[in-house]
């Protein structure tokens, strides 16, 4: 009981940034977009509960009042103009209340950040990811490029999640505007990270762009969302680090690449 009260009063200390067994709700939001998606879901759910309770009440009361044994002779009611008008107009107002926040969120998600700090290119392969940090070049004019493979099922270390971990994570700075460019090298893929509210399709012959602003440091897990054969569902792991640590992390990646 005390735990339930504490859970109600305070947010849990460990944010949910990966899929959990028997999970019912969304993962905790790490970006303003995901927070907006969760808020929209809650707004729509209010109407869902209202309609469900109302319709259930009407159904139960009708079954109660017009039970065959209590009411063996049914009334011959053909139509009722007033109630037909009300039951047409009132439900048509509800979608309007749903559409307003929905379209507001949709168009705000499409807003392109004019001057992102960092651009990262995510290239989907069968079946791994490669990432390019074209903003930085090494001394020999090579941009930072690395592959990211899912750690096999029989090879994880203690504490690692099965089929969710990768060997090289995408390191991004927290509280910084990023631009992700998503494209495939072969067949269609989809770069999806639920905590960030991002799902960007990788379509052959095309580069799709999405903007992300990660609000807190952490490790965020996602999975490819376009099924493409055996060994599919390879994972995406985004590690958001403090801005002051980002430079050293990128330098280390350069060193690993050079070696």
């Amino acid at each position: 009981m005390i735990e339930v009260f504490l859970e109600w009063r305070f947010l849990t200390i460990a944010p949910c940034d990966a899929a959990e067994p028997w999970q019912l709700g969304s993962q905790d939001a790490a970006t303003p977009i995901m927070q907006g998606i969760i808020d929209l879901h809650h707004d729509i759910f209010f109407f869902l509960i209202l309609i469900f309770v109302f319709v259930s009440r009407m159904l139960v009361r009708a079954l109660w009042h017009f039970h065959e044994q209590k009411n063996p002779i049914p009334q011959r009611i053909v139509h009722g103009t007033t109630i037909e008008i009300i039951r047409t107009i009132f439900p048509s107002i509800i979608p309007m209340f749903i559409a307003i926040p929905s379209f507001a969120l949709l168009y705000s998600m499409d807003e392109v950040v004019v001057d992102p700090a960092i651009t990262i290119k995510a290239i989907g392969h069968q079946w791994y990811r490669s990432y390019e940090y074209s903003d930085y070049n090494s001394s020999d004019e090579q941009s930072l490029t690395f592959d990211s493979y899912t750690i096999p099922e029989d090879d994880p270390e203690l504490g690692q999640s099965r089929l969710l971990e990768v060997d090289n994570r995408v390191v991004v700075p927290a509280k910084t505007h990023l631009r992700m460019i998503v494209t495939p090298a072969d067949v269609p893929h989809s770069w999806a990270v639920p905590s960030s509210g991002v799902k960007c399709d990788a379509v052959p012959g095309r580069s799709n762009q999405t903007s992300i602003l990660v609000q807190r440091e952490g490790v965020y897990y996602g999975q490819c969302s376009e099924i493409r054969g055996t060994n599919h569902a390879f994972t995406i792991v985004v590690e958001a680090v403090p801005l002051k640590d980002y430079g050293s992390r990128v330098s280390n990646q350069f060193i690993l690449q050079t070696n």
């Binding site: 109600w8 947010l11 927070q35 809650h42 759910f45 209202l50 109302f54 009440r57 209590k70």
Partner: protein, 82 residues
């Protein structure tokens, strides 16, 4: 005629009295008030929806408090270096 009526009544008695007047309900005479039922239904729906809204506002408050504490440095999501 009275014998016919007695016969009818006794026949009804054997069939379970389903034709007696007080057993036949009419919405116009005795039955549910449609407007009242709709109003009660909408009220219950709004009450249930309000409970959900309160849960939603509570979640928003917790999230806002979390990010405020994070901004002020009262909490941290970065593990300390060992």
């Amino acid at each position: 005629m009275s014998s016919d009526l007695n016969g009818l009544l006794s026949a009804n008695h054997m069939e379970g009295n389903k034709w007696l007047p007080h057993k036949i309900a009419h919405a116009t005479l005795k039955g549910p008030n449609v407007v009242k039922e709709i109003c009660i239904g909408i009220t219950l729906g709004i009450l249930a929806g309000s409970m959900w809204k309160m849960h939603h506002w509570n979640e928003q408050r917790k999230t806002r408090a979390f990010y405020d504490m994070l901004e002020k440095g009262q909490i941290s999501v970065v593990a300390a270096e060992e």
